[in-house]
């Protein structure tokens, strides 16, 4: 019956909004703690991946509807854009979101393994937000060198911000996303499954 499916769809979309909001709050809380401290700033992505897992799982269970994951992935990116980050962050957000969505949807949002992989991909949504460090660095070098800065400082700063940090972030995020997923699975069987809502 189409009227019923339309009602179901609307219900799922509303639920999606609720859990996307919760995910965003997890992002915002961790972001506010991490942003001001440079080393923690780089650890932001893995930390979010660790803590957002239960919200993601609930999103898939309660709002199995096309588009929800993509919106969840893009929303924090848009916020970073508003806070002055570069547009590339939105691009990585879209890529991560669409890919995660496709993976989860291929298992009808119910296949545990696919959902897990989907979460790993999803967790990389903010990766683009870290690129400005390197873009700005190179810009800074050229601008300071133009003004006669010594090559020595440039080398030191370069040594402190090697590009492989980006790969470390990616790997750490995937690992912590796995751990987060484990904690979440545990939490679900302990609470939500037992209570009959998941």
């Amino acid at each position: 019956m189409s009227k019923q499916s339309n009602v179901k769809k609307s219900k799922n979309l509303v639920s999606a909004g609720i859990f996307i909001a919760l995910y965003f709050v997890v992002f915002a809380v961790i972001g506010t703690i991490c942003m001001p401290i440079p080393p923690l700033y780089l650890a932001m992505l893995p930390i979010i991946a660790l803590f957002a897992a239960p919200v993601y799982e609930m999103l898939l269970i309660k709002a199995p509807v096309r588009g929800a994951i993509t919106i969840a992935a893009i929303l924090p990116c848009l916020f970073l854009l508003l806070m002055g980050n570069i547009w590339i962050v939105v691009v990585t957000g879209i890529i991560a979101g669409v890919a995660a969505e496709a993976i989860a949807a291929s298992g009808n949002y119910k296949n545990a393994t696919r959902n897990k992989i989907s979460y790993l991909v999803f967790s990389l949504n903010l990766l683009g937000g870290f690129l400005p460090i390197w873009i700005m660095r190179d810009e800074y070098f050229s601008s300071t060198l133009e003004r006669g800065m010594s090559q020595d400082f440039v080398d030191k700063l370069e040594a402190m911000t090697p590009i492989w940090i980006l790969f470390v972030i990616v790997i750490a995020t995937i690992l912590l996303a796995l751990v987060g997923n484990l904690i979440s699975t545990n939490m679900f069987s302990k609470h939500f499954k037992k209570a009959g809502i998941a």
Partner: protein
């Protein structure tokens, strides 16, 4: 007219993206100053005098660190600080525009804009619920915190997440019920109380911005700036 200026949200978003793209095109100080002046100009038109002054001072201080202090100071730590100051300064126009959008765009206007842009409901419904649910999360967090205090529980992930998620499930059910009983599932025509329309001022601001874009690109093309 003592009412604040109400620009079309579409204008705001174009400006945000535009400023964001433009500041990466060139890192010459000239373009930077033009961009900062432009964003300050926009928020000045919107009567945000205080924040405009604040941003102006921040910009000047950051500029002074880079161009003034660096003549006298050197050393590794200063370089780091200077690097951060440099990066912050470069991002300042984006920040000014972004903050201004966050402060001046009402959720209802934003939702009406999404309908105006004819986005699919699978985008509009979740996003409008997101903004409605944020304040509720805060209320619930306060209430959960009190309950934890009274029982002497320390802050733990599980004790926060479990009640929050239970509550979210309940709210999602009740909220969608209330919305469906007011016709949310109507697949037909949807209208908006709030009218989203481009006015003269929108075109003016977008026009000025377009001139800046052209100017920058020409200068860069000719090779006057890098």
């Amino acid at each position: 007219m003592n009412k604040a200026l109400r620009l079309d949200p579409r204008t705001k978003f174009i400006l945000l993206l535009g400023v964001n793209l433009l500041f990466l095109v060139s890192h010459s100080l000239l373009v930077e100053i033009i961009l900062v002046s432009f964003s300050l100009g926009v928020i000045l038109i919107d009567r945000k005098y205080k924040s405009a002054l604040k941003y102006l001072i921040i910009f000047l201080v950051l500029l002074y660190i880079d161009r003034g202090l660096s003549v006298y100071l050197s050393g590794f730590y200063f370089t780091i600080i200077n690097f951060i100051a440099y990066a912050l300064r470069r991002f300042l126009p984006c920040l000014i525009v972004g903050k201004w959008i966050l402060e001046t765009t009402e959720v209802s206007d934003f939702v009406a804009t999404m309908w105006k842009l004819k986005l699919p409901t699978s985008v509009i419904i979740p996003l409008s619920v997101v903004f409605r649910y944020f304040p509720t999360i805060k209320e619930e967090w306060n209430s959960i915190r009190s309950a934890m205090k009274i029982r002497g529980f320390r802050l733990s992930f599980e004790h926060v997440m479990v009640p929050l998620l239970f509550s979210a499930v309940m709210v999602s059910e009740e909220l969608s019920a209330a919305a469906l009983c007011r016709g949310l599932d109507n697949p037909g025509k949807h209208s908006s109380l709030i009218e989203i329309k481009m006015h003269g001022i929108d075109y003016l601001i977008l026009g000025i911005f377009l001139i800046i874009v052209c100017l920058t690109c020409t200068l860069k093309g000719v090779g006057v700036i890098s």
